[in-house]
Symmetry: C2
Subunit: 340 residues, 2 copies
């Protein structure tokens, strides 16, 4: 069953030196003679020696592994966000010599077990957190035991921790300004559950930005979706059934925005003229859709990469000067709002 089982001991026997010397030779210590080092390296290559990572980890008391728990919603779970983010952390981690331990978990009580278990059994050195909640038990837990982690997103709790976040309020302000400038006064919002920090921020951001234009965002114009296309589709039905429907719909992510467009098109509305639609994320489809989707671009891949890099630096004991990174997103204006 096993390919390779060469150990330091095997090398030591071949070269007639001790295990200590072999180990030190391979690690570049300077108390090994050049000839010995050469010989050791040669024999190691010859018999195909690869260090046993598990033994190294036991001795170092670290795992060089980063934990990443993907919160899933139901079995038909698919969100472009996660593959792109995963690619970002994955490609960075491999460069820095770290492994990624991924697990998937519905948001639930048990979710915490997943974290606790990984911490307590020394499976990972640190975590990357995503989809932060306003009241986030994961963050509370990790803070309380002082376990290293970096989050994509903030929380409302008081404990300080390193994170990368996108300026959601700024994004909503850009959207509001753009829509108002195009003449819209009746604007609706399809958000996500309010316990999600980013959903809350986007809603509050939109409210505030509209207020600056002396516009109100009444509760009837705020719907809660679940970030899937189909929920965008359904919430739009409700909004468009109003006697006085909105002329613009802003959504919490592109997937839902695509749903909005479909419902509107089914009703014969012309997107960009009868109804303006704005998404959030700038997934690849936003650009190719018909009509193409005006949206907020967040560099997900890059954020994954930054988050991973920060975590590794923390794990290596570096002092992080900039623990709280806030990224300004950009508004990508396309066809779905018309007025071009």
């Amino acid at each position: 069953m096993q390919a390779n089982t060469a150990t330091l001991k095997d090398i030591a026997e071949k070269v007639g030196k001790s295990i200590t010397t072999v180990s030190r030779a391979l690690h570049g210590y300077d108390d090994v003679s050049p000839e010995t080092r050469m010989l050791v390296e040669q024999v190691a290559a010859e018999i195909g020696y690869t260090p046993n990572i598990i033994a190294q980890r036991l001795q170092k008391k670290s795992t060089d592994t980063i934990g990443f728990v993907i919160p899933t919603y139901g079995p038909r779970f698919t969100d472009p966000f996660f593959t792109e983010f995963l690619a970002g952390i994955g490609n960075t981690a491999v460069k820095l010599g770290y492994d990624i331990l991924v697990s998937t978990h519905p948001i639930s009580e048990e979710e915490m077990h997943s974290y606790q278990n990984k911490v307590q059994s020394y499976r990972v050195d640190g975590f990357i957190l995503v989809r932060t909640r306003r009241d986030d038990s994961r963050i509370k837990y990790l803070c309380s035991i002082n376990f290293p982690f970096v989050a994509f997103g903030r929380t409302e709790g008081s404990c300080p921790f390193p994170f990368v976040d996108v300026d959601n309020r700024y994004a909503m302000k850009m959207i509001a300004d753009h829509l108002v400038q195009l003449g819209h006064r009746k604007i609706a919002f399809i958000g996500a559950p309010d316990y999600l920090m980013f959903a809350h921020e986007r809603l509050e951001g939109l409210k505030q930005a509209l207020k600056e234009h002396d516009l109100d965002l009444p509760n009837t114009m705020v719907k809660v979706g679940d970030l899937t296309q189909i929920s965008g589709l359904k919430q739009t039905e409700i909004l468009l059934d109003y006697p006085d429907p909105p002329t613009a719909i802003v959504t919490c992510n592109d997937l839902m925005a695509l749903g909005v467009i479909i419902t509107a098109q089914k009703r014969g509305l012309r997107i960009g003229e009868d109804l303006a639609v704005v998404g959030y994320d700038d997934i690849p489809q936003a650009e190719n859709n018909l009509p193409s989707l005006t949206t907020i671009h967040q560099p997900i891949y890059k954020i994954g990469s930054i988050v991973c890099d920060m975590l590794v630096r923390i794990l290596k004991g570096d002092v992080i000067e900039d623990q709280k990174i806030i990224i300004k997103p950009t508004l990508i204006i396309r066809e779905s709002c018309g007025g071009q």
Copy 2:
């Protein structure tokens, strides 16, 4: 930095027994008196003992970890397939007590290093392979060293290995029959690079199925995409520019099919009437699209789950009676082919 560091030794000291006895008590051996066992369990719970997984692994010489390498294409990589598949293996793995080590890697020379490295340094006990190639160096390598793995998809090589696959030729036959029955004679195909086993099978399957209807699939009617929406979009431009364009376009996945629809719509064609479009995968969007997409449904989540389960059984030394599972997909008829 660390929460918990209780070891067997700590328990042993508290209860005044040896480490051996404590270990055996916790593992349910019957050479421990009931009182001792009770006491050990109580103390363990009290001081919050969790076994050090790394030490266990070193001693057991196994990692209880499954490797999964996601082949990525460029940084804007996002494919709904992978999140759903990952959720399938992830949720199954956690139930069976296995970890998943995910890494992302472009298809390249180095990709093999990623596998070799994980094998040689004892990082994983087995692999799950996906997107198999007709000539697959990963499979050759793992077979040659007799390392456990299960694949989603087959290969053309001769070495036998356990896999789950979808009957691609059967799927294409269903599509061909359906289209021919609707009266189509000029059918085009937008595939994926031919080195991918599933792309090859689907193309060959379509050719063969058409031949049974005395229809030809000329090379001009076969385009190669890269599974992204935008490539579906572009290849369709070419097909529709022909003086004698196809009346139906079959694609290798739904993302490309969505691209086909967009290009056709931009040109003012009515999908389902002027042009029939068929996808493959049945991603959630296929159902919600306007028009909804006729496609082949593959139970990706379930396949992930089965593959994971098979691998774990192999790792545990079970004899697998059914090493080659072939799943019959279903044709989901929706609006994009019309004729309903």
